[in-house]
């Protein structure tokens, strides 16, 4: 039990005889090196002979990522070798004694397959963009930048492996147990059923742990090679430098409007810095596509075009972080809407009301099939609070204080399914072809989001490694206990509680009679894991189907049914309102009040929904005001401790947070639920940013680059005040 301190995370597991690992990591960004004679207990790429990590798909250049570097390192802290000892202290001593001669490389592309450094590119056009631009009464252009960040769950990564008969058991702090099994088996050249993956208690994921990493492959290989258990517990420095980064994007938008402030069309370029390798399983396509496809998501555009690129750099590979590219999309879109409102002299809430999608289902110009929603209803719920905040702002401004109000309205996709992935050239894992209950689900998820998409769905992304389905198995024991096994893997979202609630409802049993297991690939039916908020989409749909079958069979002891759902992407939405003050002495922004209206479809467990929204908002506040991973001019990482990389503390949260709910059930999920793990963050990226911008707008400042740190706010104010007139 977590409050008793008895929950067992990866580092807590008893593994008798286990060796502890410490990685030897590159001190430089891009360099070649030669093999050296290694001391006993240290292993390099040659001693393990592993297949590289690769991800394929349309638009992608395949980057070849050896789990331990082979003669070349491409980012600082990349794993080069691994040292084993009886405990981590001695493993670090051993690792410290190993020196490779790195010969820095300059002027050479990181990957010969991508001579221009572009690992992913995609274009899309929908509607008559040229025509709409021609008809426009006004065209507004801006470029926005979001900062490199990292999910920073409080529990670092960790993996242990042990041989077990002819098989290999791997414990890993992961959100994707079946994908971990698949990649580990592939890189070790084993059949998948020779590998069993078990997740212990996971201390936060937020997308970080929805990837499968070189370290997991290496530890599994070591256990196999040495015939004994091996464990690696990541430390925070490694987690900051070498796990996964995210969110570093430049979004250029050209928005065409008519004379009444109606948005006609948008033309966007999205460039994401994706780091040194295409990360598994989401690839270099994730962020540029989730951003590009989500731009202007809640708005009824007549035409839309985007050009999206994922560009390599000598930095930590980028992947999923709660909200993924949807944060940048909501941020850029909503900042743009406020900028337009200011130019037109219109109230920002009114401008949004004029332009949001009003009828559902709706096929957007970006090609997204919005299943259900009530965007005007979201705005209506904000209206009273908005009026009150404008009054508070007026009196604060009268005192000379810089107080701003920001609105963010967004929709997102959740639950990307097999059909979606296949449509994009994704290769599904065989055996999950059940067609019934195919649920369209791509909600722009808050949740360990992957395969970022923008306005268009995952089409053209071609992430080959994600099966796309979600499954649930329900067993009735001889004593009448209900046992639930799912393909999900929570990291604190409270899946067991929600599943018990559902089982009680569908079966009429006491929740105490229900046992839940996730994260054991031997017992749990295969699926995609937990990210892109799919838990409430394919996850709950497959569980409901299985429970209903069990109910139909009168809960007969011995029943063992499994249902797999190929979800259709669905679209949660939310509208957030933030009140921010920027202090006039040191330009420090503080969120004073927050109002979130969210629509995640049918609510199954309201307390869990609110948990996610609150936590999501906190991360969005961090994303806008605090979180930034910095590299120096020499390519060296600067944010190597938690005093460098800042995350929100209790003092960063607004005192007043009001949460409201609207339910627009999705027609495509069994219960109408859509997922809510990421909306809090996506909405906050928009609302908090707009509030800061609104706070300093009277000084003639336009803010476009995140994070809105005190220094950036100050610099923008100084620049605006220095302008003539």
């Amino acid at each position: 039990m977590k409050v008793l301190g008895t929950a067992l995370y990866l580092a807590d597991l008893e593994l008798p005889g286990a060796l502890e690992a410490a990685f030897v990591r590159s001190p430089v960004a891009h360099a070649t090196f030669s093999p050296i004679a290694l001391p006993a207990g240290v292993y390099d790429a040659a001693s393990l002979g592993l297949e590289p990590i690769t991800v394929e798909g349309p638009g992608l250049v395949v980057s070849r990522w050896p789990p331990l570097a082979e003669g070349r390192v491409r980012y600082p802290a990349e794993a080069v070798a691994v040292a084993l000892a009886a405990d981590r202290h001695h493993a670090e001593d051993l690792a410290e004694s190993v020196f490779f001669d790195y010969r820095p490389v300059t002027g050479e592309p990181l990957h010969p397959e991508a001579p221009d450094g572009v690992l992913f590119r995609h274009h899309f056009t929908g509607g008559d963009l040229t025509g709409e631009l021609g008809r426009a009464a006004r065209v507004v252009e801006r470029t926005f930048r979001t900062a490199r960040q990292t999910p920073l769950p409080l529990e670092n990564r960790g993996v242990a492996a042990a041989p077990d008969g002819g098989r290999l058991t791997v414990w890993t702090s992961t959100q994707v147990p079946h994908l971990a099994r698949a990649l580990i088996a592939r890189c070790l050249r084993l059949p998948e059923d020779a590998v069993r993956v078990i997740t212990p208690e996971v201390g936060g994921g937020f997308g970080l742990k929805a990837h499968v990493f070189p370290e997991e492959v290496v530890v599994a290989a070591l256990a196999l090679k040495l015939g004994r258990p091996v464990r690696w517990v990541e430390d925070r420095r490694e987690n900051l430098l070498a796990s996964a980064h995210a969110h570093e994007e430049e979004v250029g938008i050209k928005l065409a409007l008519d004379g009444d402030g109606r948005f006609l069309a948008a033309d966007a370029t999205v460039v994401a810095d994706v780091g040194a390798y295409s990360i598994f399983p989401f690839s270099a396509a994730l962020e540029p596509m989730t951003t590009a496809q989500t731009l202007f998501g809640p708005y009824a555009l007549r035409a839309f075009r985007f050009a999206a690129r994922g560009v390599a750099s000598s930095r930590c590979p980028a992947g999923a972080y709660r909200g993924v590219g949807m944060n940048a999309a909501a941020y850029a879109t909503e900042r743009m809407v406020d900028i337009v409102a200011a130019e037109l002299g219109l109230d920002p809430l009114e401008l949004r009301r004029r332009n949001v999608v009003a009828e559902f289902p709706f096929r957007s110009a970006a090609g997204r099939n919005l299943d259900s929603g009530d965007y005007r209803g979201l705005l209506d719920r904000l209206e009273p609070g908005y009026g009150e905040l404008r009054r508070r702002q007026a009196s604060a401004r009268a005192e000379g204080r810089l107080v701003g109000i920001g609105i963010g309205i967004f929709n997102e996709h959740s639950g990307t399914g097999a059909t979606e992935y296949r449509g994009r050239g994704v290769t599904a894992i065989p055996g999950n072809d059940r067609a019934e209950g195919r649920l369209v689900g791509i909600g722009i998820g808050i949740f360990n989001e992957h395969s970022g998409t923008g306005a268009t769905e995952y089409r053209g992304r071609g992430v080959t490694a994600i099966p796309g389905n979600d499954s649930a198995r329900v067993r009735v024991s001889a004593e009448g206990r209900i046992e639930i096994f799912t393909s999900g893997a929570e990291a604190g979202q409270g899946h067991p509680e929600t599943y018990r609630l559902l089982a009680a409802r569908e079966l009429g049993v006491e929740p105490a009679l229900v046992d839940v297991l996730e994260g054991d690939t031997d017992a749990c039916p295969p699926g995609s894991g937990t990210f892109v908020s799919r838990g409430a989409v394919g996850g709950l749909s497959s569980l409901v189907e299985a429970l209903r079958e069990v109910a139909e069979m009168d809960l007969a002891p011995g029943l063992d049914v499994t249902h797999s759902v190929d979800p259709r992407q669905v679209y949660p939405s939310g509208a957030h309102l933030a009140l921010v003050e920027v202090d006039t002495t040191a330009c420090i922004p503080r969120v004073l009040a927050y109002h979130a209206v969210e629509d995640c479809g049918t609510i199954v467990n309201q307390a869990a929904v609110e948990d996610q929204v609150r936590g999501g908002i906190a991360m969005g506040i961090g994303g806008v005001l605090l979180e930034e991973f910095a590299y120096g001019g020499d390519g060296q990482p600067l944010s190597s401790t938690l005093l460098d990389y800042l995350v929100p503390l209790a003092t960063d949260m607004p005192r007043d947070v009001t949460l409201e709910h609207i339910e627009s059930p999705s027609p495509y999920t069994a219960l109408g639920s859509k997922g809510v793990g990421e909306g809090g963050t996506i909405g906050a990226f928009a609302a908090v940013a707009n509030a800061v911008a609104d706070a300093v707008a009277p000084l003639g400042v336009t803010l476009t680059d995140l994070p809105y740190s005190p220094d950036r706010i100050f610099t923008a104010i100084e620049a605006a005040q220095a302008l003539p007139g």
Binding site: T585, A586, A630, L649, S709, P710, D711, F714
Partner: protein, 254 residues
């Protein structure tokens, strides 16, 4: 992040501690509260062969009037600030978090000399006297300007310990101000300023803005340094505003 190996000693007297430092010299580091040193050890940025733990050296915990032993914790000073001048009392809650203040010491902070820390700036502002002692050369007393050599660098020789800090008496009609700004409470300040007005004479210190805490004479430019958290221009502007703020505070306080 595990420290490299070291030999550990926990002397029971000042003489014993100084013996150890004389014997091991540059291979030894004194351990006070550990809030600054232990992270460096964990990151392997420091790898002393010998650690001399000062926790059980009673002489270093003594307090008499304005003289405070080097091993007195910030928390102890918060609980009982007797003998501390008001600017120091005002600064205490800004030092890290209460958990850090439970362990962190006055002497440890001064010996570590982080440029953004409050104690070096306060010592400079209050013109404290720092007493150093070694086995072979005995005691010497330095002014803050003599003690502060550079960022993370003091006048302490490898065989020396800072044993106590003496603050001058605070006159009843003394006035003062203290202000710092940080992005989050407990973070190192982005800029800080403090002042005293004693016998009509004004004394101003700026800290966290530049390489070192700076005693600012009339007309002096504020020396600034940019880093990850804030650029030089920001620090210059904000430090300037804080100087005005603390002077205004000093003007208002009786």
């Amino acid at each position: 992040m595990k420290a490299a190996p070291f030999a550990y000693h926990r002397p029971r007297s000042l003489d014993e501690a100084l013996d150890l430092l004389a014997e091991h010299g540059g291979d030894a580091k004194a351990l006070a509260g550990g809030q600054s040193l232990v992270p460096l050890l964990a990151l392997r940025l420091a790898q002393p062969a010998v650690i001399v733990d000062l926790a059980e050296v009673p002489e270093l915990k003594q307090r008499t009037g304005g003289r405070v032993g080097a091993m007195v914790t910030n928390a102890a000073l918060e609980r009982d600030p007797a003998g501390l001048p008001p600017p120091a009392v005002a600064a205490l809650p800004h030092i890290g978090h209460f958990q850090v203040r439970n362990r962190g010491t006055l002497g440890g902070s001064l010996a570590h000399l982080d440029p953004a820390a409050e104690w070096p700036a306060l010592a400079l502002l209050l013109d404290a006297r720092l007493t150093l002692r070694s086995r072979d050369r005995g005691e010497r007393t330095l002014t803050p300007a003599e003690f502060i050599r550079g960022p993370l660098t003091t006048a302490l020789e490898p065989d020396e310990l800072l044993t106590s800090v003496a603050f001058p008496d605070w006159p009843a009609d003394g006035r003062w101000g203290f202000a710092e700004v940080a992005r989050r409470p407990g973070d190192f300040a982005l800029a800080g300023a403090a002042c005293t007005v004693l016998d009509g004479r004004r004394r101003v210190v700026v800290f966290a803005a530049g390489r070192l805490p700076q005693l600012l004479a009339e007309g002096d430019p504020i020396a600034v340094n940019g880093d990850l958290h804030a650029g030089a221009a920001y620090r210059l502007a904000i430090a300037g505003r804080l100087v005005e703020k603390v002077l205004a505070e000093a003007g208002e306080r009786p």
